[in-house]
Subunit: 197 residues, 2 copies
DNA sequence: GAATTAAACTAATAAGCGTTAGTTTTGTAA
DNA sequence: TTACAAAACTAACGCTTATTAGTTTAATTC
């Protein structure tokens, strides 16, 4: 009768959620079973229900934790008086680091949000939409202040978000490129096509 | 007893594969059932098996059709003598158009390949790896020929592929932006940070 | 050491899954 | 009209699913 190991600062629920993120990232939410999850932890499936409510609740926890982290960071950035280009750079760096440090969770939030049920699905999409709108507004400010070229801000934002999302693939190539080098390369690629010369 | 409708140029199998792509894109492969697929076509689930082998075979067809389309196009491009920047532009435009014209299939190939079984999984990943290697080599040529800045070619390729992949999201915003405008915006964003000035 | 609580276990549930077998209907060609 | 083939149907198979109920074990508290 092996118990779920959990140190002082993490509850057993948090252990389960972390393992769920790993499993959902590897196999996808729908293709992951509670038995598999339990096995990866070392208990029976039914034992999980002493700590969590349901499978779908695990997905909810993962998705909204990630969404909230991004929202909170954007709040902080907006409350500074830096140039727009610095703000955008800061945001891009945050995305890159979230992807590298919370790989499983960010991946799951990006790929498995579709499996959320209402009203969580709508909430999640709404939160993401608002986040994007705020980024678009930021780029727009950069254009008005002549920091950026006169591009379509909506396209720019989605290009940036997509490019940063592509860091998913760097978990495959991790050995070949240094993280900091990677970060500056992507930033250079994305910004120098954007910043007025 | 409704029959599967199919015009002269499309077999019933192709109709099923197309509907499968739509369903898999919307709900994910694992979360899609054969009964749902059948319903979207207007027959019973078992009737599908007069035309197809299995559920997983549908995913295989979709994934490898997309992969082959990209490979074939790259073959054609490599057999021309254009400047590297033109080749790359051509490839980016092809990606954009594949995404816009074969949305469901490209989406499924991008997101659901994980659910493939061996040996198809390995074949698919290998084909993708080779494709990326050829793009990296192309960018490398551009650097050697001084057409591009001295960036990390591997990072550049993944940034480009990821950014183009982000066109997925434009099916949400389709009304707001014209396709051609979108295409040139993305190209400008990606290339003008790359091309030597 | 006894009592209590936390958290594991076993067993079972009902529902849904992909797929198959066997049968019936439909469309086509002789 | 008859014969044949294509493609639909119904019914069922065995399996897996998430989840629940009830029980037992382990850890904690008194």
């Amino acid at each position: 009768m092996a118990r779920i190991v959990s140190s002082k600062n993490t509850t057993k629920k948090e252990v389960i959620i972390k393992k769920a993120a790993i499993l959902f990232r590897k196999k996808g939410f729908a293709a992951s079973s509670m038995r598999e999850l339990a096995e990866s932890i070392g208990v029976e499936a039914s034992s999980l229900y002493n700590h969590i409510g349901s499978k779908i609740e695990l997905l909810q926890s993962i998705c909204f934790k990630v969404a909230n982290d991004f929202t909170i960071h954007l709040n902080e950035i907006e409350n500074t008086t830096s140039p727009v280009v610095s703000k955008l750079e800061n945001i891009i760096r945050f995305h890159i680091n979230m992807m590298l440090n919370n790989y499983d969770e960010v991946f799951v939030a990006n790929h498995e949000w579709k499996q959320l049920e209402e009203p969580f699905l709508s909430n999640f999409l709404n939160q993401r939409k608002i986040y994007e709108s705020r980024l678009i507004e930021l780029v727009n400010q950069g254009i008005l202040k002549k920091e950026f070229k006169n591009i379509h801000p909506q396209v720019a934002v989605l290009t940036i978000l997509s490019a940063v999302r592509g860091l998913e693939f760097w978990h495959r190539h991790k050995k070949n490129v240094k993280i900091k080098e990677l970060e500056s390369n992507i930033l250079d690629h994305l910004l120098n096509g954007l910043i007025r010369k």
